[in-house]
């Protein structure tokens, strides 16, 4: 019976709160803790349940609603509570507990049966509030974590994030989402993914973790594949080679940007076992980039003329494969993805 009671307290007071905390928190962020050992699970459960446990305990004793609902029962004195628990413990260790629960000749329930019923209601009421507060704590944790990019400049929040939040958040959340950056201006996540001899680039739409919290795959959108062989051939054939002129004053003869071939289809899944290298960037989305450049040019470049900036997706004007290798009609592109 002692083992049964111990199991009940561990499961009800430590393990279930740990699970309940993770559920609402994971709606906002991916937590680092996945498949834990029993000790880790218990430690995590204790850590997340301390605050809701204390609040639930205060609530069931002092808050008018929590004192009565749910599982309403007549309020008693502290000594009555203690007596009920004492009777239940006697019952738990009695050689023949059934005999102690039998009603008397008049049909009145025994004092042990009444105590058992009272404690059942108390436990259920306390656990209801305890679980609710644990879930609220999980939701608050997730919400606070989501604001990391905006609030990490505040020392108190930064301390909380470093000590409490970040150790519990999956590193992939930081690497494959805009978690680290302020929510405005809006950013998107782009990745260059090297899979064997093939280099792909695209916008990260989603990512998947296995039970141990490791990356199992990545879903890209607007994917392009770098045609390395054609690029090498064009480099060899080009009179000016592929060496970028210093200072950007001369036009690069062969621009790697012309050798990205668009892959049709909305979603491109790459399993992690195929990935040998991942280069992640967090650029502004189109609208934010346009706004940023408009403001930067007006404030810093002093061009003497009013300008307007237009940002267009690469698949609008990307050079088709047949034309790849031609010189760019305009200056060199900004970024040359290193493909080796």
């Amino acid at each position: 019976m002692l083992a049964l009671l111990t199991t009940y307290f561990i499961v009800a007071y430590i393990l279930i709160p740990g699970i309940l905390f993770r559920f609402p928190a994971s709606l906002f962020v991916k937590l680092r803790l996945f498949q834990l050992t029993r000790t880790q699970e218990a430690t995590f459960g204790v850590a997340v349940s301390l605050l809701p446990f204390a609040l639930a305990w205060l609530a069931v004793w002092h808050a008018p609603i929590a004192r009565s609902y749910p599982f309403k029962q007549t309020a008693g004195s502290v000594s009555a509570y203690k007596e009920d628990y004492r009777r239940v413990m006697i019952l738990a260790f009695a050689a023949d507990p059934a005999s102690k629960l039998e009603a008397d000749a008049a049909g009145h329930p025994s004092a042990y049966a009444v105590a058992l019923n009272n404690n059942e209601h108390r436990q259920l009421r306390f656990l209801s509030w305890y679980y609710l507060l644990t879930m609220l704590e999980g939701g608050m944790f997730g919400l606070l974590a989501r604001r990391y990019g905006d609030w990490s400049r505040y020392p108190a929040y930064n301390w909380f994030a470093r000590k409490i939040m970040l150790p519990r958040i999956s590193e992939w959340q930081l690497l494959l989402t805009d978690f680290t950056f302020p929510k405005r201006p809006k950013r998107v996540v782009y990745a260059d993914v090297l899979c064997g001899a093939h280099l792909y680039r695209g916008r990260v739409e989603d990512y998947f973790l296995d039970l141990s919290g490791e990356l199992s795959g990545i879903l890209l959108n607007k994917v392009e594949r770098f045609r390395r062989e054609q690029y090498e051939e064009a480099r060899a054939a080009a009179p000016g080679g592929a060496v970028r002129a210093s200072g950007g004053s001369e036009v690069e003869r062969v621009n790697p940007e012309n050798f990205w071939a668009k892959i049709p289809g909305a979603n491109f899944y790459i399993p992690s076992k195929k990935i040998s290298n991942l280069n992640v960037r967090f650029p502004f989305n189109d609208a934010s980039l346009q706004e940023f450049l408009d403001r930067y040019i007006a404030d810093h470049l002093d061009l003497g003329v009013a300008t307007r900036v237009i940002v267009e997706d690469s698949d609008v004007d990307i050079a088709p494969e047949a034309e790849a290798g031609n010189d760019m009609p305009h200056g060199p592109g900004l970024g040359e993805t290193e493909e080796d």
Partner: protein, 58 residues
């Protein structure tokens, strides 16, 4: 994986793509000015392959 996620977070924020873009824009300022003066649109690409067009305002 990295144990210190705070350090990872700081590293990710260190050099953002728009900072590279700004550096490129500054280095090619004379080219940009020449294009605008002739009434032409200046074009460049960012690391995502997006085309950025800077045109004289009408």
């Amino acid at each position: 994986m990295t144990a210190d996620l705070k350090r990872l977070s700081d590293t990710l924020r260190r050099d953002t793509p728009e900072q590279s873009l700004v550096r490129e824009l500054v280095s090619r300022r004379s080219e940009l000015v020449a294009s605008l003066r002739d009434g032409r649109t200046f074009e460049m690409r960012d690391m995502q392959g997006r085309i950025i067009r800077i045109a004289p305002a009408r």
